[in-house]
Symmetry: C2
Subunit: 337 residues, 2 copies
């Protein structure tokens, strides 16, 4: 079954070209979706800001692809102190970006607001993710670490987040960004690498996510890579040969290995996507789920979705027909409960 393309007139580039066109269409759709839903999100924010504990309750209902990263101590902090959560496609938000017509709709800014709490001073933790394309053909979300002002002896990340921020600050000062020829680890990087290797990362705090960086791809590199990619595809369509790609491969591969070995939260981009594509749009659904579950347990309510054996029993009158209005379709698991 392997090498399935060998006997065909179709090449990997043909498939890649089609994928890229789907990608472009998807990006355009996101742009339209953000524009169409902006007034709805405004209205929702206005409404839910009048509901105390809305966002903590939503987070409590978060599906596994978010919940798996939240430790019990994180949970306690979020439940007691999270005031508000929001996602903004800042690159296409005309209030945030001068170039909003050309920004990437997939870049997002994820913002948590906190009331006074015993763990850190910050009232706001906001993390940006930029959608970038690298010269070796990769594309995805990159970020920068956010420093949390931990209170004394309350650092949920055991110093890891601070170390990542220190490494980052040194890099920013020393070379205006990454120095492709620098192979020797700085003292800070050595320290971080060692700590990562010696830390059981299993129970790592959710707040380490604020240290996620990902690949180091600058806006300039991305713009170049995108332009080049457009040219290559244009040439392929016209059946023209493209100038050979400068293989800076060596430097990049070493860089990427280094990047990933100093990454304290490798799935940081996937978590950002889960926040953006699941929790943020579906917040009311999760909130309603929480209420329904509470109502069911509080009222010792016998579900009117009877078991097969019960279907001859007289159905219970549901006085609260309001719940029927809500479009939050219970999952199969809830229905069977």
């Amino acid at each position: 079954m392997s090498a399935a393309l060998e006997e065909t007139p179709i090449s990997y580039e043909d498939l890649a070209d089609i994928e890229r066109e789907f990608d472009d269409a998807e990006t355009e759709i996101i742009r339209q979706q953000v524009a169409l839903t902006a007034p709805l999100y405004s209205r929702r924010t206005k409404t839910v800001s009048q509901i105390p504990n809305f966002w903590p309750l939503v987070l409590e209902q978060a599906p596994p692809d978010i919940d798996q990263y939240i430790q019990p101590s994180d949970s306690a902090l979020l439940l007691s102190s999270l005031l508000s959560f929001s996602v903004d496609h800042f690159e296409i938000n005309p209030n945030k970006s001068k170039n909003s017509a050309f920004g990437d709709p997939r870049s997002v800014s994820i913002r948590f607001e906190f009331s006074q709490n015993e763990y850190f001073e910050n009232a706001v933790l906001e993390k940006k993710f930029w959608y970038r394309r690298s010269r070796d053909g990769w594309s995805g979300l990159v970020s920068e670490p956010i420093r949390i002002q931990w209170k004394k002896d309350r650092d949920l990340t055991g110093g890891l987040l601070d170390m990542v921020c220190n490494v980052w600050d040194v890099e920013q000062r020393s070379s205006n960004g990454t120095d492709a020829t620098q192979r020797e680890l700085t003292l800070e990087q050595k320290s971080l690498k060692k700590t990562i290797e010696n830390t059981g990362m299993g129970g790592l705090s959710f707040f380490a996510w604020f240290g996620f960086i990902g690949r180091k791809v600058s806006a300039e590199e991305s713009a170049e890579a995108i332009a080049k990619d457009v040219e290559i595809r244009k040439n392929r369509k016209a059946n023209k040969a493209s100038p050979p790609e400068s293989i800076d491969g060596d430097a990049d591969e070493g860089e990427e290995d280094l990047d990933m070995s100093l990454e304290i939260f490798p799935d940081g981009d996937e978590l950002a996507i889960a926040f953006t594509e699941d929790l943020w749009p579906s917040a009311i659904k999760y909130f309603t789920q929480a209420q329904e579950q509470d109502a069911i347990s509080d009222a010792d309510f016998e579900s009117d979705e009877g078991e097969p054996d019960d279907f001859n029993d007289p159905p219970q009158d549901s006085a609260d027909s309001d719940d029927d209005e809500i479009d939050a379709r219970p999952t199969k698991k809830q229905r069977a409960a």
Copy 2:
């Protein structure tokens, strides 16, 4: 934390109204997305039809939310005989529907084409799912069972699919649809119910999915429910009281219990959604993943995404720079491999 809305000016209807507006926006976005991507899917179909075994290879890579339903014998059949797979939003396809400007974009027709095989005669198995709203406030996908012409002693569903089709045929003949007053099970229904109760449904064949029905909601009931819903929301906005909803609740609840107890593939709608929203759009990504994995194992290829310990080794020259063009970003699991 329960009854979080009690002390607030916000009601469940307020939240439900907002949810519904998001739903409407989402539906509009799907409509735009289908229109925007139609030419891309045509081009893709033309290209992949020249690649033998394209769809079997794609299905082999299917993620858990599809793969969990495919048994080994199903897999063997699909691998050897599946010629083609496609998803069509038929209600908004002007070639398929006269009312395509008003159809629901979420309704889909899922089509499998087969070469001659030892299990069944059908060259095509096509299943339609309609997006409907019921008068009790539920909304989702409903379907009808598709009969498979099994060859002798080759029924992968152990007779279950045939029984579902028989029950369906009796219902269609007897009352032009569901008879809300009929509480007694027909002979066919009793037989089906008993077989379901006595069958270990764990290893149930994927082909039983063609028997999924879901809730019994007719196009008429749906149109009524939608119109009524629009009116209620309009009144709420204008702060007018709506006429009380006719509580046909009793009949519907009994109906639903009956429906679900005779359902041989309860997650049929979720699988349809996984086909539509994951496998169909991402087919090239899955195909490419399959090729990359084969290339890696065949060539005893040392991944150039090195482990942290390897980053000082000279990176391997990648002769096949074509792969870099492909946008299929490996999952974290693959990267670590």
